[in-house]
C-alpha cells in the first residue's frame, strides 16, 4: 500500500487546549477519491491543516507520495492543489494579479491550463477578489489548484454555499479530470450527497478520532439503517450497533451488519440501505454534535 499511496496518515496526534486529534490513521491510494466527513468540530479541517503542515503535529507520520510532509515540504506542496474553506486571497487585488504572482511559485504551473479553466468557469480576471460571489471565488480557487498539474487535490468544503447546479457541474468536471489523469483527491464536505457522486472511500471523523475509513460501496452495502419502535429493535446485537437516534416517528439504529440485523430485528422494523447522511447523522447521535 505504501508505495502506491497518494496520502498516508499514520498515528497522527495534535493537541489543542480544548480539543485533541488522536491517533488518526487513514490512506488514499493513488487515483482515488476519499471523502472526509464528520460533524462540525470533529477535526476534519485540522487533519487537512496537518497534511499541509499549517499546524505542527505532535506525533505520527504523514506521507504524500512517499515523502514526509515536513522534511520534504516544498516537494510535497508543489504536487498538491488545495481549495480551502476560507480561501485567503487578497480582497483588494485583481484575480489576474494574484494568478500571476501565486502561480509563479509552482514549477509545473501551466498558464494555458489556467486560461482554459478561467474561460470555462467564466472568471472575471480583471475584477478584484472582493467583488466576486462565493461561487466565483471557489471557481477561482479551483482553477488555481488545477493549473499546476497537481497529483493530489485537497478540497475543504469546496461546495458549501454553492447552488446545486454548480455543485453538480463541479463534481462532473472533477470526475472527468480524475478519470483521465489518475489524480487523487481528499474531499472534506458536509454535503454528503456530493460524496455519493464521487467518493471511492469515506473516512468519518468524530470527536478527534477516525470512526471508520472504508470503501464507500462496501460501507453502504454492508451497513444498514433499521427503523422501528423500541420493541422491534430490541433483538439487535449491540456489537453491530454503530449509532442510534430517536426521531419523530420512531427510533433509527445504524448497524454494521445488514444481514444480521435483518435476521434479528422484529417484523415491523424496516431495514434499509443507508445513505451517507444517515451514517453521519446516526453515528454522531443526538448528543454528539458540536453545533
Amino acid at each position: 500500500m505504501t508505495a502506491d499511496c497518494a496520502l498516508e496518515v499514520r498515528g497522527v496526534t495534535k493537541r489543542y487546549r480544548r480539543f485533541t486529534l488522536r491517533n488518526v490513521s487513514f490512506s488514499i491510494p493513488r487515483g482515488y477519491v476519499c471523502g472526509l466527513i464528520g460533524p462540525n468540530g470533529a477535526g476534519k479541517t485540522t487533519i487537512i491543516k496537518l497534511i499541509m503542515n499549517l499546524v505542527r503535529r505532535d506525533a505520527g507520520e504523514i506521507r504524500v507520495f512517499g515523502l514526509d510532509n515536513r522534511r520534504d515540504e516544498v516537494a510535497v506542496k508543489s504536487r498538491i492543489g488545495f481549495v480551502y474553506d476560507s480561501p485567503g486571497y487578497w480582497d483588494d487585488r485583481t484575480l489576474e494579479a494574484q494568478r500571476r504572482v501565486l502561480g509563479s511559485f509552482y514549477p509545473a504551473w501551466n498558464d494555458g491550463t489556467f486560461d482554459r479553466l478561467a474561460a470555462q468557469f467564466e472568471l472575471p480576471m480583471r475584477q478584484t477578489y472582493k467583488t466576486l460571489s462565493r461561487g466565483t471565488k471557489m471557481k477561482f480557487a479551483l482553477a488555481m489548484a488545477l493549473a499546476h498539474d497537481a497529483d493530489l487535490l485537497i478540497l475543504d468544503e469546496p461546495t458549501a454555499g454553492l447552488d446545486p447546479v454548480f455543485r453538480r457541474e463541479f463534481l462532473q468536471r472533477l470526475s472527468a479530470l480524475l478519470q483521465d489523469e489518475h489524480k487523487s483527491v481528499l474531499f472534506s464536505t458536509h454535503i454528503t450527497s456530493d460524496l455519493d457522486r464521487i467518493a471511492d472511500y469515506v473516512t468519518f471523523v468524530h470527536r478527534g478520532e477516525i470512526a471508520f475509513s472504508l470503501p464507500r460501496t462496501e460501507l453502504l452495502d454492508t451497513w444498514a439503517v433499521v427503523r422501528g419502535d423500541e420493541a422491534s429493535l430490541r433483538g439487535l446485537d449491540p456489537g453491530i450497533v454503530r449509532g442510534r437516534r430517536a426521531g419523530r416517528f420512531g427510533t433509527e439504529v445504524l448497524v454494521s451488519d445488514a444481514r444480521a440485523a435483518a435476521r434479528a430485528a422484529g417484523p415491523s422494523a424496516v431495514v434499509d440501505r443507508p445513505s451517507l447522511e444517515d451514517v453521519m447523522v446516526l453515528m454522531a447521535g443526538e448528543a454528539g454534535h458540536a453545533a
Partner: protein, 225 residues
C-alpha cells in the same frame, strides 16, 4: 524564490507604497526649517520603511493569506527571509527618498555630502535595523495584533516614563524625557565618527538581525495557522 516573494509583496500591496507619499510630503515640509535635523529625518524614514514590511505581513494575516502562502511550495525560512528583505528594501528606499528630497529641494539647506555622511548612514542602519529586529518577529507571530501591540507598547512606555518622571517631582517631564532621548541619540550619532565604534555598532546590529531572523523562523514554524 526570494525574487518571486518580493514581487508578490510589490504587486499585491501597491497602495502601501502610495501611503508613504504623505510621509515624504511631511519630510519635504520639515526640510524648510533651518537646522532641520536631516539626520533624524532620514533615520525616521528608515524606520518607516521597516514598518512597511511588518504591515505587509499583518495585511496578509487579515486576509487569511498567511495560510495560503504557507501552503505554497516555499520553505518557511524563505518566507520569513523575504520579509526582512522587504524591510531592507523599503527602508533603504525611504531613506534615499528623504535624502533625495533634502538634497534636491530648493528650500533645503543640506548638501548631499552631509546626508550621506557616514555617521548618519550608520545611525539610520542602527535605528531602522533595530526596529526591524524587534517588530518583525512580533508581526510574524501575532499578525496585525503584533504590529499594533508594538506601537502600543511604545506608547505605554512613553506614558510610563512620563509618570515616573513626574513622580520624581520633575517639571515638564516630557521635555526631559525627549531631551534625554535626543541627547542619547546625538551621542550615539557622534560616536559613529569613530570608525571602530561604527563597525562595532554594525556588527551588533547584524547579530541582532540574525537572532531576530532565527527567532522569526522559530516562531512561524511553530505557529498554528
Amino acid at each position: 524564490m526570494l525574487r518571486k516573494l518580493f514581487l508578490k509583496d510589490a504587486r499585491l500591496n501597491p497602495h502601501l507604497f502610495w501611503g508613504v507619499i504623505p510621509f515624504f510630503a511631511w519630510v519635504a515640509y520639515a526640510l524648510r526649517e533651518d537646522g532641520a535635523p536631516v539626520g533624524m529625518l532620514t533615520v525616521v524614514s528608515g524606520v518607516m520603511g521597516a514598518a512597511t514590511a511588518a504591515t505587509v505581513a499583518a495585511r496578509e494575516d487579515r486576509f487569511h493569506a498567511t495560510a495560503l502562502l504557507a501552503s505554497l511550495p516555499v520553505p518557511r525560512e524563505t518566507l520569513v527571509l523575504s520579509r526582512y528583505l522587504l524591510a531592507a528594501v523599503a527602508g533603504a528606499a525611504c531613506f534615499l527618498g528623504a535624502a533625495a528630497l533634502a538634497a534636491l529641494l530648493p528650500w533645503s539647506s543640506h548638501a548631499l555630502g552631509s546626508i550621506f555622511d557616514p555617521r548618519t548612514v550608520v545611525m539610520a542602519l542602527v535605528i531602522a535595523g533595530s526596529s526591524v529586529a524587534v517588530m518583525l518577529p512580533m508581526a510574524l507571530r501575532f499578525g496585525l495584533v503584533g504590529v499594533v501591540a508594538f506601537f502600543a507598547v511604545l506608547q505605554v512606555a512613553g506614558v510610563v516614563l512620563f509618570f515616573i518622571a513626574s513622580m520624581f517631582g520633575l517639571r515638564q517631564p516630557m521635555r526631559l524625557v525627549f531631551g534625554s532621548v535626543e541627547a542619547g541619540l546625538r551621542a550615539l550619532h557622534a560616536s559613529f565618527a569613530d570608525a571602530g565604534a561604527s563597525a562595532l555598532a554594525l556588527a551588533v546590529l547584524a547579530g541582532a538581525l540574525w537572532l531576530s531572523y532565527r527567532l522569526s523562523v522559530w516562531l512561524t514554524t511553530r505557529r498554528d495557522l
